[in-house]
């Protein structure tokens, strides 16, 4: 299974990025081949709609699951149209999260926040 995780740096020592749409990179990890690659998140610097573009990039990458601390409603709307599953991370370590996912210990992310666009409450 291919997993996508928003990360702060393009290395396996990186921590999970607190933001989804504005994460500088996405780690793409394949649990079968154990191969990893990093996707430059072109959405990180966009003025608006970062979540939408980031979600589009992840869908295009062929990921089947995402591990993330949070996800805004626009990104969730894009992902809803796919079979990609959203999981809530347990801590900041990439490896801990991958292991936890393999063991089925991660929970699905169900609190989708309304975004930080300075409207809609935040």
């Amino acid at each position: 299974m291919k997993i996508a995780i928003p990360v702060d740096n393009n290395s396996m020592d990186s921590s999970v990025c607190i933001s989804f749409g504005r994460a500088p990179y996405f780690l793409l990890y394949d649990t079968e081949t154990e191969g990893s690659s990093f996707l430059d998140n072109s959405a990180a610097t966009s003025q608006g709609g970062a979540g939408i573009k980031a979600a589009q990039n992840i869908v295009d990458s062929g990921a089947e699951a995402i591990i993330t601390p949070r996800c805004g409603e626009n990104a969730a709307e894009v992902l809803k149209a796919t079979e990609i599953k959203l999981y809530k991370n347990i801590n900041n370590s990439i490896w801990d999260n991958i292991e936890a996912l393999k063991e089925g210990k991660l929970n699905l992310l169900d609190d989708i926040h309304p975004g930080f666009h300075r409207h809609g409450g935040n």
Binding site: S46, Q47, G49, I52, A55, Q56, V78, A81, G120
Partner: protein, 285 residues
């Protein structure tokens, strides 16, 4: 002449100044551009109300024609479009209705649908034609409503008073774009100076002639006045911090219609603004 009334924050007195100036003038148009929470009509209480909807255009892809080439998705700088599972998803709140996706679609698969985002309400209050923009709850931007408000008012030959939204962001820029003169309202506090500075920077950026009205003036020290003096900003007038004026205002009354003293105050202010505006426009040419 079009006079835009602005301030760095809400509650400074934009509406007080706008409605009183409009009421003091012989014939005027009052335009409420504070489309998130218009309140000028609560004072002017216009009659013969007419409503007109404001709509924006949203792209819509014909799934039979769309080949999923994503030209539109890549073009959209606002990321309002996503193409997922053979389907184009449009984020209506993110879309700025620029129409670019429609123009660039190689398959001509995109058409536009209208979506109502607010309305314009107009009526008459004595000598004043009152026009208010009202944005629907939940909408992200009131700019399209303001655009329509001001486009419709271009043919007016009376004095136009534009009651701007608070602050100095997009909606304020849209409101002052066509104004001949900007009137900044300021409060006599340190915080008031901070807010004044924001709109002061904005009107300079737009190279608009402007002046300041000092509101809620007391006998004591006035930091906003000091700021004007230091920066050689024209002070057009002072409105006193007075109980009677405050009471009339909080009861939704227009002081310049109720009391000759305030009528004089706002007539004088109007004269000063006119003189300044003429002077500024003359020195520009």
């Amino acid at each position: 002449m079009k006079i835009a009334v602005l301030s760095g924050k809400g509650g400074t007195g934009k509406t007080l100044v706008s409605v009183n100036l409009a009421a003091a003038a012989e014939a005027a148009v009052y335009i409420d551009c504070d489309v998130e929470e218009p309140n000028g009509h609560l004072f002017l209480k216009p009659q013969d109300i007419k409503n007109e909807g404001v709509a924006v255009k949203l792209p819509h892809a014909d799934p039979k024609l769309c080949t999923g080439c994503r030209t539109c998705v890549d073009f959209c700088k606002f990321n309002a479009l996503a193409y997922i599972k053979d389907r184009l998803i449009v984020f209506s709140e993110v879309c700025h209705s620029c129409g670019g996706c429609l123009l660039f679609c190689p398959q001509k698969a995109i058409s536009e649908k209208e979506r109502e985002i607010g309305l314009i309400q107009s009526g008459i209050s004595g000598n004043v034609r009152v026009v208010s923009g009202m944005m629907n709850i939940g909408e992200a931007s009131g700019v399209p409503v303001i655009k329509k408000l001001l486009r419709d008012s271009r043919k007016e030959n009376k004095d136009v008073f534009i009651d701007c939204p608070p602050g100095s962001a997009c909606m304020v820029m849209e409101s002052i774009k066509d104004a001949d003169y900007c009137l900044l309202v300021a409060e006599p506090t340190i915080f008031g100076v901070h807010n004044l500075e924001m709109v002061y920077e904005l009107v300079r950026l737009f190279q608009k002639p402007f002046g300041v009205v000092l509101n809620k003036c007391l006998e004591e020290e006035n930091p906003a006045e000091d700021f004007c003096l230091q920066n050689q900003i024209t002070i057009l007038g002072k409105i006193p911090f007075d109980l009677k004026l405050g009471t009339m205002n909080s009861n939704g009354q227009i002081a310049s219609r109720k009391h000759p003293k305030y009528k004089d105050l706002f007539l004088n202010l109007l004269e000063t603004v006119r003189k300044e505006a003429r002077h500024e426009t003359a020195s520009d040419t």
